[in-house]
Each structure stands twice: as C-alpha cells, then as structure tokens.
C-alpha cells in the first residue's frame, strides 16, 4: 500500500513546514516515505508544491501518475492539482485548510499550529494511531496533532488511505545533508562558499557543524575567493571542500586548474540546476556533466562522482577526500536540485569513523614535486618539519620553483598524467539491477538511479525484461565497469535529465558504446516512475 500526497500553496504559507514536520514524524513512526518539492525562486507568493510518497515498503522516487490526496493551501491548487486526483482520493480543500487555520488561532492562539494540525490530519488518514503519533510529535506539538486527528474524524477521513509502518532502524536525510555528512566523515574540516541554490543547504550544514566540531566555514565574497580559500586551507593541511551550483562553479574554474597544476587535493560539490546562465534557479537538471568534465584550462586528471542514493552519496563523498589526498587531484561530487531537495530514509549502516589526513615529516631536502615512479610526490604541509612546501601555478621544477625548461615541462606533464592509470584502477563500478541476460539495458547516472530502477522493475515484472546500470562514478569510465554485461549485444537506453544526452556521448567517446534510444527530460522537473515506465514501455515494446 502507498499514499501519494501533494501539499500545495504560495511560498510562505507553510507547505514546506508541513513537509518537514510530516517527514520527521513519519520517520519517528518508522514509516517509509520519499518527499520532494517543486518551488519557485521567490520568498512569498507564487505556487509551490511538496510531494510525499508514503508506503509500506522502501520508496526512493516519486511514483507519479494520480495523487491519492491533495491538500490545498491556496486557490490555485484546485485548478492545478485537483484534476490529477484519483477517483476516491482525498481532498483537503482550501475551505478545509482555512478552517484548520481558524482553529489554530482560536484554540492555540497561533496560526503556525495549523501546520502541525495538518500533519495530524495526514497521519490520521494513513491510519497512524493517535497515541503513537503523540509520542512521535515534536515536543509541545502533541495537542496540535491531536486536533488534526479530530478534524480527520469529523471529516470521516480516519484510515481512509491506510499505510502500515514497516521501516526498520534508519536515518533520514536530504541529498545535500547526505553529501555534507559524507564530507565530515571524510575528514573535511574546511568549507568556503557563496550561497547559491541548490547548493546553499550544504553550506548551512557546515556552518552549523562548525559551531560544534573542529571545522571551519567561511562565507566568501565570491566563488573565486571561495575556491582559492579552500585551496589555501588544503595546502595548509586540512581537508577542504567547495560547494556551489553551475553558475558559481563557472567562477571557480580557474581554481580547478590551479588545483590540477599545484596538485592540491580538493573536493568540489556541484549541485546542478537548469542553465544556461541563471536558468531555472530552483529546478533540476543534469546539464553540467560536460562542464565539469572539461572545467579548467590545461590537462590534468580528475574524478567525477554522481551518486544516486543516500548511502551511496555518503560513501562516495567520504571516499572523495581519501582519493583527493592520495592522488593530489580535484575530485567532484555532481548532484542536482532534485536529489538535493529530496528527503528519504536510509536503512544502511553508516560508518562512524571519520577519515583524516596523514601528516608526514621530512628534512630540508624535501621536494614538493619530486619525480617518482608512479607520479605521486610525497605530500606534507608548511610548518610541520624542516620541509619547505612550495607550490607554483607556473610550470615548476621538483622544488616548486618556476621554470620554463622544456625538458622539465615534459617530465612534470608526464608525472601528472601518470595518475590517470592509477585512477583507472580505482574506478568505482556501476550499480547493476536486474538480469544480466536481459536484452535491454537502461543506462543512467546520478540522481535518476531509483526512478530508473523502479520503472525497469515494473517493466520486468510485466514481461519486458530491462536491466539497469547506474554509474555513481561518471569519470573516468573504464572498460572494467561494463565488462561483465556484453553491452555491445544489448539494446541500450540512456536516461538523462538533460536535453543533450551528455552521458551517452561520454559512453561513446570513452567506451565506444552507442546508446540506441535516448530518454531525456529537460523541463526542470525530475522524471517520475510512472512517466519513465510509460516512456520505456513505448521504447522497449
């Protein structure tokens, strides 16, 4: 059983607060859910909606199709979402939510209590017990939830769309929280940034964490300053990260090249939104893969991760810091507004031991860019030992001194390039779902993972076998990643949240794989399972 609800209204009317409180309470009630939002780039007015899928089984994507329940906080909701309510579904009309607002003022002298009353109504609709709901309520809000249950009873909605609580021990995160947590577990101690949707909540997390942990967050005057501060901090000895969206990353590019030349370890999180330029500031797209692939002038190695699940996001972000240090390169985490703003529960075990840097000491003969067999020079930090640590953005010799010696230029370029072979060996293999013998494979990357997985499973269940390969590492791509699947003999469908099929082109150029059908979406929304299922069915039948 599942219940799909949309809560809609103007910005500032409380729909976001309802989503936060409802998901928090569902989590405490051990109920599976997935929640995401569609919001405008404004603080008040307009029309925003919050979509929550509540289920008696794990859910990690929007179902799509018809709503089971519509909650109207404004008049627009009736026009926009009511036609999409399934027959027999539940509506809380604008009149009903107004009544809740009036009751909140009258009974509690607090209009904000109406958010919690609404949460109570929804909990009653899914058949939660009032006692358990009171236990799960945020302290001081028990009475509000109770009032919600009473409204539901009066409107004869109690248990109208029952969903049982079946989740085990878990934690709940949105994508950006998972990313930030992964960074802290990776030993990240310094973040500098300039706010930009949809990356701002990563910075929020760090500024908050910095008040308790040995972490520093600095708000930079611009993204150029941010990336340079981050590189300065990394050079000085602490694991560091920059986080931004495409437009901010455009300003950071020179810093990426600087990291490449100076071999300074750095992790850069880019949360994508539709471009070009300002684009759709609060919507989603996977449009910056090409940009990140090629960002920064000159030639230097890099790794790009694009996780598609909470556990994967935590693990790969954590790993990014290890890899950045080990290979002294920039490592990217590519995410997007959809994943950043989607809240879901994670039942996987999260390792608690935080990573940390190695602090090696050397004598006065230390050379920061010592030429070695594998291209990796010993790394240390200023002021730890006799070693002077000298970095230069110019081509440099082993000591880090500026040089125009062409022999040295070739040796240093080769040294940097030697790491490419090492990175290939470290590549994170894609996630595979389904039957290896399936004639059709759906290839995807980043945030679409669970949407594709669920749509393919539905097709397979209906006798149209479709296997899924999801790439959590999108660069480098290595032959080992696809070796087990005989992809040359399969019908390949590429699913991407962009207009150009950027990952399909990368598969072609890196692995020689030609995608037969491209399923692309670029209106600013993510796919839903229903939508993708219908499209794939058309392609594969």
């Amino acid at each position: 059983m599942e219940m799909n609800i949309v809560i809609a209204g103007e910005a500032g009317q409380g729909a976001f607060s309802v989503e936060l409180e409802l998901t928090e309470t569902l989590s405490r009630l051990n109920t599976h859910f997935f929640a995401t939002k569609h919001y405008m780039s404004r603080v008040r007015g307009g029309h925003n909606y919050h979509m929550i899928r509540v289920a008696d089984h794990p859910v990690h994507a929007l179902r799509g199709g018809k709503w089971d329940m519509v909650v109207a906080l404004d008049e627009e909701t009736k026009r926009l979402h009511k036609p999409n309510l399934r027959e027999g579904g539940v509506t809380l009309s604008r009149e009903m939510t107004k009544e809740i607002g009036a009751a909140a003022k009258e009974a509690f002298g607090n209009i904000v209590a109406s958010n919690s009353i609404l949460v109570g109504v929804v909990l009653a609709v899914i058949g939660a017990s009032p006692e358990k709901a009171a236990e799960a309520a945020e302290p001081g809000k028990e009475e509000y939830l109770k009032a919600g249950f009473e409204f539901a009873a009066r409107w004869k909605l109690t248990g109208a769309l029952p969903v049982s609580a079946t989740a085990g021990e878990h934690r709940k995160f949105d994508g950006n929280q998972a990313l930030a947590l992964g960074a802290i577990l990776g030993g990240c101690q310094f973040v500098a940034g300039y706010p930009m949707t949809p990356a701002t909540s990563i910075l929020n997390y760090f500024s908050e964490a910095a008040s308790k942990l040995p972490i520093h967050f600095e708000q930079a005057e611009d993204e150029i300053a941010a990336i340079n501060m981050v590189l300065g901090a990394s050079y000085a000895g602490v694991r560091s990260m920059a986080a931004t969206s495409g437009g901010g990353f455009a300003l950071m590019q020179e810093g990426v090249s600087l990291a490449g030349m100076t071999e300074t370890p750095v992790v850069i999180a880019v949360s994508q939104r539709p471009g070009p330029a300002t684009g759709l500031p609060t919507r989603t797209e996977q449009g910056d893969l090409n940009f990140i692939l090629h960002a920064g002038h000159g030639e230097f190695p890099r790794i790009i991760f694009a996780p598609g699940a909470i556990g994967e996001m935590i693990a790969l972000t954590r790993k990014s810091f290890e890899l950045a240090d080990r290979f002294q390169i920039p490592v990217f985490i590519l995410t997007d507004q959809y994943f950043a703003d989607s809240v879901q529960i994670c039942e996987e075990e999260i390792p608690l031991d935080a990573g940390s840097r190695e602090y090696r000491e050397f004598d006065g003969t230390y050379k920061r860019y010592q030429l070695t067999e594998d291209g990796i020079s010993p790394l240390t930090y200023p002021g730890l030992s006799e070693a002077l640590v000298r970095l230069d953005s110019d081509e440099h010799d082993e000591e880090g001194k500026i040089t125009e010696d062409q022999g040295m230029r070739i040796r240093m370029t080769d040294k940097r390039r030697k790491k490419i072979a090492l990175l290939q060996k470290e590549a994170v293999l894609p996630s595979f779902y389904g039957d290896r013998d399936a004639a059709s494979f759906v290839l995807c990357w980043g945030s679409t993972k669970h949407i594709v997985k669920e749509a393919a499973e539905r097709l397979t269940g209906e006798g149209i076998p479709a296997a899924v390969l999801h790439f959590g590492q999108v660069y480098p791509l290595t032959p080992e990643m696809v070796a087990p699947y005989n992809l040359e003999e399969k019908r390949l469908v590429g699913v991407e949240n962009n207009a150009g099929g950027q990952f399909a082109r990368l598969l072609k150029s890196e692995l020689g794989l030609a995608v037969d059908h491209a399923v692309l979406k670029y209106d600013g929304d993510c796919f839903t399972v229903e939508e993708l299922y219908q499209t794939l069915k058309g392609v594969l039948s």
């Binding site: 976001f16 936060l20 928090e24 934690r171 995160f173 929280q177 947590l181 802290i184 577990l185 030993g187 101690q189 310094f190 500098a192 908050e208 964490a209 910095a210 308790k212 942990l213 040995p214 972490i215 520093h216 600095e218 930079a220 005057e221 611009d222 150029i224 300053a225 941010a226 340079n228 501060m229 981050v230 590189l231 300065g232 901090a233 990394s234 050079y235 000085a236 000895g237 560091s240 020179e254 810093g255 600087l258 100076t262 999260i350 608690l352 031991d353 935080a354 200023p382 002021g383 030992s385 002077l388 640590v389 000298r390 970095l391 230069d392 953005s393 110019d394 880090g400 001194k401 500026i402």
Partner: protein, 274 residues
C-alpha cells in the same frame, strides 16, 4: 641573495631591494622562517616568493589574498604574508582586497606598487596617474588612480603603511612592524620600474619622499596624509589602530571530531532541519 637563482627581474628593478629587505626582515622575526608562508598572485612582483627561503603558494592572478585567508583560517599558527604587485592586488584582486580587510585576520599584505603593468609590458595599472601614455592608452590614461592607503583606512584596516624601495632600512622596519602587528596590515611599497615607468623613478621619489615621525592614530588625519601625492610623499606608518580587534580563529588543525560528535552528526540531531 643566492647567486645561483636566476631572477626574472630586469637589472635595476626595485624588487631586488625589496627582496633583500624582506629576506632580512623575515630572518629578524621572532618566528622561524619555516613557519612563514608567502602567498602571491601573478606578475613580476608575484615571483618574489621563489627568491626567498620560505613556504609559499604562488597562485593565480589576483588571488593571493583568498589563498592567505584559507591558510590563516586553517593554520592560525602560521605567519601569513600575501605579496603581489599593484595590478594583482588592487586590480584583478580588488574585491578580495576589500573583503580580506573586513575579515580582521592577522595577515600582512605587501604590495610592490610600481604604478604600471610590467610583466605584460607597460599598460596602465590601477595606480597609474591620469595622462600617462602607454601601449593600451596611447592618448594617456583616462582613469583616476586608486589610492590603496586611503582605501584600506576606509575599509577599517588597522595598520596602513607606505614604504619605498630606495629606503631599505626604513622599509625593513615597516615590514617587520606589519608582520608583528596583530591584525591586517598593509604596506604599499613604492617600487621604481626601470623598464616601463619612466616617470616615478628612483630620482623622482628621492626628491619627494619624507618619513613620518610617528604613526597617525586618528583616522581622519591619516586620510589626509594618505591623500598627499605629487609634491611631498609621506612614507612610514600612515595609520595604526591598536584598539582594533583581531578575529580569534578556532584551532582545527589535527583536531579530530570525537565519536560522540560523529554519532550526533549521523543522527542529524546536531543539524537544524530547515
């Protein structure tokens, strides 16, 4: 200076004198040279760290200051000096110059100010006087020059000084004072460029500079002094504010979060939910 080093500067460049002074100043500091970090940007002046026995991060054009900020925030135990030219510090990095001062960190900003772009062969810099002709301003520079001292005082910098490459002993003391000052300190250094600035030569400066007897402590008096140019040019500490508060930086280097901290973080109990 080590003879084996092949500097990229022209014979007679003011940077040679500044290099000697800087090397002595660092040696005379009560801090081991290994604890000193220089950051620099791009330009002839920005090559300075290569010719000194210190740690350095020679970064990109205009970015010596954000590098310095990142280093100081990560490692307050290090003595951090940003060194670059007028084009790098006041032009390409102008925004960082403003905002770094606002951060109230214990940093030193040294600027080789030759009032011209030298590495790119003689174009106007932010401090070039109006009317000065050069390849990109054949009819003479049209812009009014940026006054780094007045700007720094306006932004609230607590230590603002001007030195002259032709007064080495005086410059050395200024640099030492600036580095030892607890707070953001600027020393704008008048640096003759023998190749591209035929106006502000050693002789031109020698006729005009005079040493201030003692630092100004009144901001408005200091602004008036910072405004003097052309006839008499003051060198020395233009403004010094002992009561300005330097920001305390939390120690994070080699400090690890505890397991309890991590549990709290993983449970999201420590994170505000909105």
């Amino acid at each position: 200076m080590e003879k084996r080093i092949d500097t990229a500067w022209c014979p007679g460049c003011g940077n040679f004198a500044i290099r000697d002074v800087l090397e002595q100043a660092i040696r005379e500091l009560p801090v081991p040279a290994g604890k000193v970090v220089l950051t620099s940007g791009i330009g002839q002046a920005a090559k300075m760290p290569h010719y000194l026995g210190v740690n350095y991060f020679n970064g990109l054009h205009g970015r010596s200051l954000p590098l310095a900020v990142g280093i100081k925030l990560a490692r307050p135990d290090l003595t951090v000096v940003a060194y670059s030219g007028d084009g790098c510090m006041y032009g390409e990095g102008g925004n960082h110059f403003l905002h770094t001062i606002r951060r109230r960190l214990d940093l030193t900003i040294l600027v080789s100010d030759n009032r011209v772009y030298a590495l790119t062969k003689g174009q106007s810099s932010p401090t070039t006087d109006p009317g000065v002709k050069n390849p990109l301003s054949p009819e003479g520079s049209r812009n009014i020059p940026l006054n780094p001292l007045a700007l720094a005082i306006t932004m609230g910098a607590p230590f603002v000084a001007r030195g002259f490459a032709g007064e080495k002993e005086h410059l050395k003391e200024l640099i030492k004072q600036a580095i030892l000052f607890k707070g953001t300190a600027l020393v704008d250094i008048l640096q003759p460029c023998v190749s591209f600035n035929k106006i502000n030569t050693y002789g031109w400066y020698k006729e005009r500079v005079f040493c201030l007897e003692s630092p100004m402590t009144d901001r408005y008096e200091a602004m008036k002094t910072a405004d003097l140019w052309g006839g008499k040019i003051p060198i020395g500490v233009i403004y010094r504010n002992e009561s300005a508060q330097c920001r305390q930086v939390k120690e994070i280097f080699r400090k690890q979060a505890t397991r309890e901290d991590m549990e709290c973080q993983v449970d999201m109990k420590c994170v505000m939910m909105r």
